[in-house]
């Protein structure tokens, strides 16, 4: 089901842990959804000098966390902001379709940690709507039956209840 590289990162996750007195902290997801990720960073000369993660989640979520920390380590903050959920998934040579939502946590947590760093540096809190914007772990398109007004967890062409075609739908 998973690629070799996903399994490798899952079995030997890099950069596990939590930096005490971190310069930036990013936390996304929650245990209700089954995924929660915290990234802490240490910044030196506008570069990510050290980065650690902690994740509650499935194998894909753990592999994504490990990969995103590897990709971000040593990068400038601007470069790290260019890392996307898509590029993390690509670096892992793809994830099963039903696991793509897990991959959405990685870059989000990283970006939140960087934004938290800037906010601390400038001595101003992150605006609330901006935090909410970064909470995009669950906002991907999902399957929806307009006839039953029902969210369908799996991506299926037809609604199992009414048999009519499903559509793509955005949360919120």
């Amino acid at each position: 089901m998973y690629s070799e590289i996903v399994l490798e990162h899952f079995k030997n996750p890099r950069n596990v842990g939590k930096i005490e007195e971190a310069d930036g902290v990013g936390e996304v997801g929650n245990p209700v959804c089954g995924d929660m990720m915290t990234i802490t960073i240490k910044v030196k000369d506008d570069r990510i000098d050290d980065i650690r993660f902690q994740t509650f989640g499935c194998g894909a979520a753990i592999a994504v966390s490990s990969m995103v920390t590897e990709m971000a380590k040593g990068k400038t903050l601007d470069e790290a902001m260019q890392i996307t959920n898509k590029s993390v998934a690509e670096a892992l040579e793809g994830l099963p379709k039903n696991k793509l939502h897990c991959s959405n946590l990685g870059a989000d947590a990283l970006h939140k940690a960087i934004m938290d760093y800037y906010a601390r540096k400038e001595g101003r809190p992150i605006p609330e709507e901006k935090i909410k914007l970064e909470h995009i772990g669950r906002t991907e398109e999902h399957c929806y039956c307009p006839y039953c007004d029902l969210d369908i967890p799996e991506e299926v062409p037809y609604c199992a209840d009414c048999g009519k075609p499903t559509v793509k739908h955005h949360h919120h």
Binding site: C33, G59, A61, H101
Partner: protein, 391 residues
């Protein structure tokens, strides 16, 4: 890497004697025959079919002609629920069920709801037990069917079927029981249980997947689900899956004959597993402590997610299953676990160990070792665990 298979509720390994019966049926000169054919090739198949029917009937203490072969437990359940609801629609439109039924029941009922039937789905207690008093309260003059499972395949709890059937028998209500997780594992006696329809499959006790049976009490009003030829007394059309049916028959015969020794073995394994799990901090065992299957342990592991545990155990050869949202392909936690009162996070960290007759005590001990290191590794990664003081 040695495989330790502890996922017997998904499917059991074929019993060697079952495999032998199936292979020898395939190799038989007339093994391809259609039992409906009126020539001697058909007759040979018919003989094998009726032999298997007798073996399955004996497993659940009914007459052979009351057994309908199907393509598995899910089809049996769909047939029973939809078939009875449609056939009795002039008598009423109300159906009673529980909140912890299998998706085969829930999906069938959702379809019926769209067709105008009314449903009452009963709460269960913290052990997953249905209270017969709740069934009594739910029944109305419009009630035509009660469908409640015998044993739950996620938490192992066994429901008080005989007490519930007393209520349905004194009124004109049919009772369907989903016994897929229990038949062939614990005694299932239709007469003692007093049900009108009962679903079972073959792959829970050493038989093949893709074959099952539905018991239908004589004179029960039921529509076919699969229309076709005159097979199965015109109750289930379609040419028989003879190799599967032969396998199911053999598995049923062996399960009946060996049940007490198998149970003794399973209980020994289960106790060893429970003892071992008990030594790990912050693990809760789900399901009823005594009214439960001998082959199943549901354990909720705090601070870690089920799919990652399943994956890590699998890397070491141990096969278990989980009902975490992430593993199910949906983003929702198991409806069974939420119904017994677990919060979402706890439900996400729930594993099902299901034992089989081929498992050994050594395998349980080895699995526990791997399980302990898996939990320690994943808790070490978890942000939920770090903040806690463990003791």
């Amino acid at each position: 890497m040695n495989t330790i298979y502890l996922d017997n509720v998904s499917a059991t390994p074929l019993h060697p004697a079952v495999k032998e019966a199936m292979v020898s049926y395939i190799n038989h000169e007339f093994g391809f025959g259609n039992p409906v054919s009126q020539h001697h090739v058909g007759d040979a198949a018919m003989e094998a079919l009726e032999g298997a029917r007798k073996q399955v009937a004996q497993l659940i203490n009914v007459e052979p002609e009351q057994i309908v072969f199907t393509a598995g437990g899910t089809e049996s359940i769909n047939h029973a629920v939809k078939g009875v609801a449609r056939a009795r629609s002039e008598k009423g439109n109300h159906i009673v069920t529980s909140n912890i039924e299998h998706n085969a029941v829930l999906g069938s009922l959702r379809m019926l709801k769209r067709l105008g039937y009314r449903l009452t789905s009963l709460d269960v207690d913290e052990y997953g037990m249905v209270d017969p008093a709740d069934v009594k309260k739910a029944i109305t003059d419009e009630t035509i069917l009660v469908t409640i499972m015998h044993a739950n395949s996620e938490i192992g709890t066994i429901e008080p079927i005989a007490e519930i059937s007393e209520l349905t028998r004194e009124r004109d209500i049919l009772f369907h029981c989903d016994a897929v997780a229990s038949a062939g594992v614990v005694p299932v006696d239709v007469e003692e249980m007093g049900v009108d329809l009962l679903s079972l499959s073959a792959n829970q006790y050493g038989g093949p997947s893709g074959v099952g049976a539905l018991y239908i009490r004589p004179k029960t009003e039921i529509w076919p689900l699969i229309h076709g030829g005159s097979q199965e007394g015109s109750r289930r059309g379609g040419t028989h899956n003879m190799v599967g049916i032969v396998g199911m028959g053999k598995a049923a015969e062996l399960a009946r004959k060996e049940m007490s020794e198998r149970t003794e073995h399973l209980l020994k394994l289960k106790q060893a597993l429970l003892d071992g799990l008990g030594t790990v901090d912050e693990i809760a065992i789900n399901g009823h402590p005594t009214q439960c299957l001998p082959n199943l342990v549901s354990a909720s592991v705090a601070y870690v997610e089920g799919e990652s545990m399943m994956l890590m155990l699998d890397q070491e050869g141990v096969c278990i299953s989980t009902r975490s949202a992430c593993a199910s392909g949906s983003l929702r936690a198991s409806h069974v676990l939420l119904s017994i009162g677990l919060d979402h996070a706890t439900a996400q960290g729930t594993l099902i160990f299901s034992l089989g007759v081929t498992n050994t005590l050594e395998e349980i001990e080895r699995s526990l070792e791997i399980f302990r290191s898996t939990v320690a590794t994943l808790r070490n990664i978890s942000p939920l665990y770090r903040g806690k003081t463990v003791g």
